[in-house]
């Protein structure tokens, strides 16, 4: 704000009435953009924001690195004999966990962004309404991809060797990003529903911690008590991490992939309309 005073109106070039008039007259009115085009444009907005504030990539770079290092060395010796062996099991899981955790920042950014005046303008444009939210999530999908690449790199340095090769790894990341895109609609809902950034964070933590920890990310569910197995074996995170683990190991876990995509579809079907309802009411 303080920098605003540096450029005073006095220094401004005058408004050119003639060229303004010419612009107003020649203004052609192109057809409305398609839903896809509008969504991609909003995705471009998200990327521009990353360009201007690169610090916001901190959560998709430093945080994932920390997660891999911490859990590999913390649990590696105890659970699998050595960190190097454990990481073969852990990496796909920790990848899923970290990226799914990162999705919650979507809610926070929606919450802070939505109050800005520019949303009034977006809402008065004759465009496909959900494109604003879809654009957000497309930008976030890029963030998820960055996080995945960072974690895999660290993993490979620590000794992770995926049997699925490049193809399997890419398929795993693709599935993870698609799932996270769908899962993020929960956060857009909370971002619009809750009044402050803090409450969005609070609620997100309440959802994300049990959901990601109570899964097969760290250990085999067969070591858990029966009632917990019932939850863990049906958790979308368990299905997703089994699917990603399988794909990266060179298998084709059709059931788990289907379950993951099914959950993804369910998240969009339920939270997408709720988000749009809230967005239209704001």
């Amino acid at each position: 704000m303080s920098t605003a005073t540096q450029t005073e109106a006095q220094d401004l070039a005058p408004v050119s009435a003639e060229s303004l008039a010419a612009l107003l007259v020649t203004g052609e009115r192109p057809p409305r953009p398609s839903a896809l085009s509008a969504s991609l444009t909003f995705g471009w907005r998200a990327i521009l924001k990353i360009k201007h504030v690169p610090e916001q990539l901190f959560d998709v770079t430093a945080f994932p690195i920390m997660m891999v290092l911490m859990y590999t060395y913390l649990f590696g010796g105890a659970l699998a004999g050595s960190p190097k062996e454990y990481i073969q099991f852990l990496l796909p899981g920790i990848l899923v966990m970290s990226v799914v955790m990162i999705t919650m920042y979507t809610g926070v950014s929606v919450n802070t962004d939505i109050e800005k005046g520019v949303f009034d303008r977006f809402r008065t444009l004759p465009i496909w309404r959900p494109s604003v939210m879809v654009g957000y999530l497309l930008g976030d999908a890029l963030r998820y991809t960055i996080a995945s690449v960072v974690m895999l790199t660290v993993g490979v340095i620590l000794g992770y060797r995926p049997d699925g090769g490049v193809g399997g790894v890419l398929a795993g990341i693709a599935l993870l990003v698609v799932f996270s895109f769908a899962f993020s609609w929960i956060w857009t809902m909370f971002g619009l529903l809750l009044r402050t950034e803090k409450s969005v964070m609070g609620v997100s933590m309440m959802v994300i911690f049990p959901l990601t920890f109570l899964s097969n990310v760290f250990v085999d569910p067969r070591t858990m008590p029966g009632w917990l197995q019932a939850f863990v074996n049906n958790s979308p995170i368990t299905h997703l991490s089994s699917a990603v683990r399988g794909l990266m190991a060179g298998d084709w876990p059709a059931d788990e992939i289907a379950w993951s995509l099914g959950w993804a579809g369910l998240f969009i079907a339920v939270f997408g309309p709720v988000t749009m309802r809230l967005y239209n009411r704001k």
């Binding site: 006095q10 085009s37 008065t124």
Partner: protein, 337 residues
């Protein structure tokens, strides 16, 4: 696109919006002729912004009807959105993006191809004198520059109807004049403008018809002349050389001008509120007063003419001033909206 048969850009009937207990807009009827600047005048919290938001399809009315170029703002919201642009009280551009990025973004959202969007953005920045700041983030812009980029964003596609919600609030006089010039240029090309403002002189400068809003209701509507006539022609403020003759001077003004005269705290100053019954302009009345005073030998050191202020319009129309109106309403609707 322009085959709407009615010559009205906006037509509302009994428009209502409530926020909890507060009736922010309480039965507003407006008829805005196409191709003109229509001023909506009122203090903070009168319901101006809420009304604009309903007309721009941002808020759903709780009662009544509103049509923009014959299209219902609720049932045909998309038709309306294709024809209007909104420049809000707070910059309706993305502060994190640069001037160019903002305009290209909106150009793309309006359906321009990448190249056309870039071209148009460049031309607009040039016309608005913002070329030098094109690559800077909008958050580093001054108040005047923000309004410019904001209005530029609103005319990316020449809108048929442009909402300007308090476009000059918080601007220095120079920037304010520049915004007025832009508004005039836009209207000259046939765009209808709905302008909300707290300043009578702004409405006076730009609008051909004015609606005065208070407590969510239209309390007066008419041309500038009609509206001013209802509050008198203005005021004349005098400073006498000899404070001792002030009562005498006041008496002369009362008699000669049929004006209400108020003695100021400053013992040599007095203010006459000029009437409009005679049809004379404030200047004519003032020169008559000066001649009267000179004839009686009262020396006037200094005099000035005042336009009727919004406060006076309010006092005349409602019997209370704008500050009371503000306090009573707690600014609630502007915040909630």
């Amino acid at each position: 696109m322009s085959q709407h048969t009615s010559a009205l850009a906006i037509e509302t009937a009994g428009l209502v919006k409530t926020f909890g207990e507060t009736r922010a807009v309480d039965g507003v009827d407006l008829a805005v002729p196409a191709g003109t600047v229509y001023g909506v005048l009122g203090p903070n919290g009168a319901g101006k912004t809420t009304t604009v938001k309903m007309l721009a399809t941002l808020l759903r009315p709780d009662g009544g009807e509103a049509h923009v170029f014959g299209h219902d703002v609720v049932r045909e919201a998309d038709e309306v959105r294709g024809r209007v642009s909104l420049t809000g009280q707070y910059a309706s551009v993305d502060e994190d993006l640069t001037g160019t990025e903002n305009l290209v973004l909106l150009g793309r959202l309006l359906g321009h191809h990448k190249k056309a969007a870039r071209e148009r953005a460049g031309q607009l920045l040039e016309a608005f004198g913002l070329s030098d700041a094109a690559g800077k983030q909008v958050k580093h812009y001054s108040g005047g520059m923000r309004r410019r980029i904001d209005i530029a964003a609103s005319i990316l596609n020449t809108p048929e109807l442009l909402f300007l919600d308090e476009p000059t609030t918080g601007l220095d006089p120079r920037s304010r004049n520049q915004v007025w010039d832009i508004v005039r240029a836009v209207v000259a090309q046939g765009t209808t403008v709905l302008l909300t403002t707290q300043y009578l002189d702004e409405a006076d400068q730009l609008a051909s018809r004015i609606a005065v809003i208070d407590h969510g209701r239209v309390i007066a509507e008419g041309t500038k002349g009609e509206l001013k006539a209802s509050v008198g022609a203005g005021t004349v403020h005098l400073r006498l050389r000899d404070g001792g003759r002030r009562p005498e001077a006041a008496e002369i003004l009362r008699r000669a001008l049929d004006a209400q005269v108020q003695l100021e705290p400053d013992s040599v100053a007095l203010t006459a509120r000029l009437g409009s019954a005679t049809g004379d302009t404030a200047a004519e009345q003032a020169s008559r007063a000066l001649a009267e005073l000179a004839r009686t030998g009262i020396t006037v050191d200094n005099f000035s003419l005042g336009q009727p202020s919004l406060d006076e319009v309010f006092l005349a129309l409602t019997g209370h001033d704008t500050h009371e109106a503000r306090d009573a309403r707690d600014d609630k609707d502007e915040v909630a909206a």
